[in-house]
């Protein structure tokens, strides 16, 4: 995992293996799914395919965004099913092979820590590497 696709959620900078990212799209339409878990933001239409969008904020236990700014869909493909991760803003692709890597610092919120592989210490900030599989592993059963 030498290249990470990065994006912002709340005050954090996250990254996932660039190989897992299928594409990044901005879509204004999202269909909420009643009875689904709160992490499920809804369904999006990606060129004729119906994709599930996961709200990364809720998934990470972060408060809802204050702004009504349109969020970005990072479409990741794990187990051959594309799923969208809703993030606040997209960053760039970063080469991290030369960046010092650390296990997730204990200062990071526990709920977030479970979903992380570790952190890259960039000169100015931390880049948290997400475990995409675990992020997508939202419990399946409906909310009661």
């Amino acid at each position: 995992m030498s290249q990470l696709s990065t994006f912002h959620v709340g005050k954090y900078l996250f990254g996932v293996d660039v190989a897992l990212v299928q594409e990044v799209v901005r879509l204004h339409q999202i269909t909420p799914v009643p009875l689904a878990r709160p992490e499920i933001a809804g369904l999006i239409n990606l060129r004729g395919a119906v994709l599930t969008a996961i709200d990364l904020r809720t998934r990470l236990g972060l408060p809802p965004a204050e702004t009504t700014k349109e969020r970005v869909n990072v479409v990741v493909r794990v187990d051959d099913e594309p799923v969208s991760l809703l993030v606040d803003e997209i960053g760039g692709v970063l080469e991290v092979s030369q960046v010092p890597f650390e296990a997730t610092p204990s200062t990071v919120d526990e709920r977030v820590r479970d979903l992380l592989i570790g952190a890259y210490t960039l000169p100015d900030r931390l880049l948290l590497a997400l475990n995409a599989e675990r992020v997508l592993d939202v419990p399946v059963e409906a909310r009661a």
Partner: protein, 860 residues
Amino acid sequence: MEAIDEIVAEFLVESHENLDQLDRDLLALEQNPNSRDLLASVFRTIHTIKGTSGFLAFHRLEKLTHVGENLLSRLRDGRINLTEERSTALLAMVDAVRNLLGDIEQTGVEGETDHSQLIETLSSLLEDGAPAAAAPAAPAPAVPAQATAPAAESAAAESAAVPPPAEPAAESEPAEPEAATATATKTATATKRAPAKRAAKKATPPATGGQPAGSDQGSPPIGEVLVEAGAATQDAVQIARMEQTLGDQRPLGKIMVDHGSTTPAAVEGALETQSAHRSVVDSSVRVDVELLDSLMRLVGELVLARNQLVSRLDDERDTAKDSALARSAQRLSLVTSELQEQVMKTRMQPVDAVWSKMPRVVRDLAKQCGRKVRLEMEGRETELDRSVLEAIKDPLTHLVRNAVDHGIETPETRKATGKPEEGVLRLRAYHEAGQVHLEIIDDGAGIDHDRIAAKAIERGLITQGQLSTMTKREILHLIFLPGFSLAAKVTNVSGRGVGMDVVKTRIEAIGGAVDVTSKLGQGSTFRLTIPLTLAIIPALTIGCAERRYAVPQVSVLELVRLSGEHARGGIELISGAPVYRLRDMLLPLVRLDEQLGLVPMGQADTSPDDRPIDRERGGFIVVLHAEQQRFGLVVDDVLDTQEIVVKPLGRHLKGIPVYAGATILGDGSVVLILDAATLARRSNVLANNLGVTAEDHGLEVEPIDPVLVVEVAGDRRAAIPLEMVTRLEEIPATSIERVGGREVVQYRGHIMPLVRLSTLLGAYGDATDPDAGVQLVVYTRGERSVGFVVERILDIATERSGTRSDIDDHALVGSVVVGDKVVELVDMQSAVLAADPHFYSSAGGLSTGEITSKFEEALV
């Protein structure tokens, strides 16, 4: 190596297709043994397989088909007739070839199966009169001799050596006698035979080398066509060819006509055959199904892009009036619609794709069971989506087998009852109301209601009491219950009691329905109603809480608008659950917003003053039919009906059963598709009851198993199935004693626990007058009894008006209207258990589950 594999693969695909055709042709031949076209077609098929297998060094296959070919060539030449024996042997050969091909497909080489017996049988059938070594024990009467076969010709055939038929290139058969002289094949006219013979005699032995390549690739050379049609001899063709090679500029057909070795008419016919063959080859291509699916997806996207473009242009119409762009968009729009339609069509296949297997199934089974069956098919061109076709294949086969095995009687029985010996099995297919209807009709014995009933009772599926009130239709439908079988003994055909229920489940799984009608002695009809396609369905778009949802149109019965007085007058609460009186029948209601968790459950229903539907808001009731039950779905808005493409939901949402999938509407928005059956179940509307079908709802009064109607408290009435009433007693209130928290009474030497229905149902009656008697309904089973305390015994009801509603509450399983009163159906199981928790665990017999279903059946 790869190139070879490819050739083999192609050979396999082609051969499998050919074999299917062969099956059909052989069966058609049995009906019409003189058909030259069919014989030629069969011969050609086997010939092709043989030629290619020789080329690819599949020697077993080659050997087998070679013998078959010999037999076929003699049949084709009219030297022997097609008897049942021969066609059985040929069908056996087709099966053997299929198996060999299967082996090749799986392992790449031929299997080790021994075909010598079959080869021997085939060889022994080459001559008339020679009894087949391995012929079936009871040979069927031979088909009447061909009237058209002139005696002279048979004589000629007998005197001639047995020549192999014309062989194609790359053929080497050292063991075969070289055909030095050609047999005079039957020509179009008898007069032509002599010249043909002359030509043959003059002929040099046929070259074993390759034939001159036909001028057209993909269509057989004319000489071959003529030979196959029996209009010329191989030798005559060779002569003509030779003349061509020697510089004769005339077409082959003309040379042959001039030689007198064939007729002008035959040449013309051959040319037609040739061009027909070419047009088939040229006009169809094999396409990977995945490619079609992906095409379909792309077209879907194109439609969406088109829609966006058009709506954008509409917005800018004022500025871009009549612009070239607008015109192009218009054109694009038209082409897209057309493209969409055509691509959809590519997925459609005629029902014949499944039916074509049936003649063989019927034939084999009829032979096996000693039946005579004629299969008739009507509407074979009726088209269905390939996914649907795939899904109905097994159920359909099962029904056909069932009709032959159980429906149609033996020839002797049929004769005795004055029917023709040959039974008729008819398959019908037609489109109606956006659905495909398939019927399997036999003129057999029909289904005996009494036998079904007796069997169902014997197997413990129903009780005698239930039976007495069941309609004939309901009894007939018992055959779809799991574990039901009428067969006296288990055969490998049927009788294992699996099947009909599977048929029903499978058909219902794809949104279809099964129905059966039968007349004793006259036959049965099974009707399947299935959707045209699974991928694209008509759906009703509805609005609820500012969102749109789609409901498959198949589930929708009708729409009821709720507005003004009508809305308020129509909705009532029974046991706290809303119902709607639709044409004097109780329609249980389900609120979609509640079901989707958008408003708290039951909040609007608590107070009788606060109607379930806001007066101002109005709304609609979508009357749905799911799992043989009717209920109303209350929504805010009904938008429109459209064809939608069903898309599966991702793994995160699969666990929510309320959604059957999602779709993308014309404006590009994603809309969830609701699953009517789940909605019904979620709202406890559905009970697992038997036999309530849509048809029942039209009746004003329905018979039910007798129930005892009692007054529980105040005006509340409850019903207890008469089956569960052993005795009615009146005891003095003072005789009631207490054991722990329970009320008991000494009854016939036992201590009988009591339960007050009023307490159980949450009604609060007046305190019982200690001097007055207490009305008891006693239910005894084995050693144990329980007593139900009721306020008054009212009546025994045997019919209900309107439909049964399944609204349940604590200790209730629903309600019915008896007379003009709503009567609550007591959940007897919980009532009994409330009195005696160990009631069912002690005695043998019915389990608690059976009690429940028994009860529910009783009150249908």
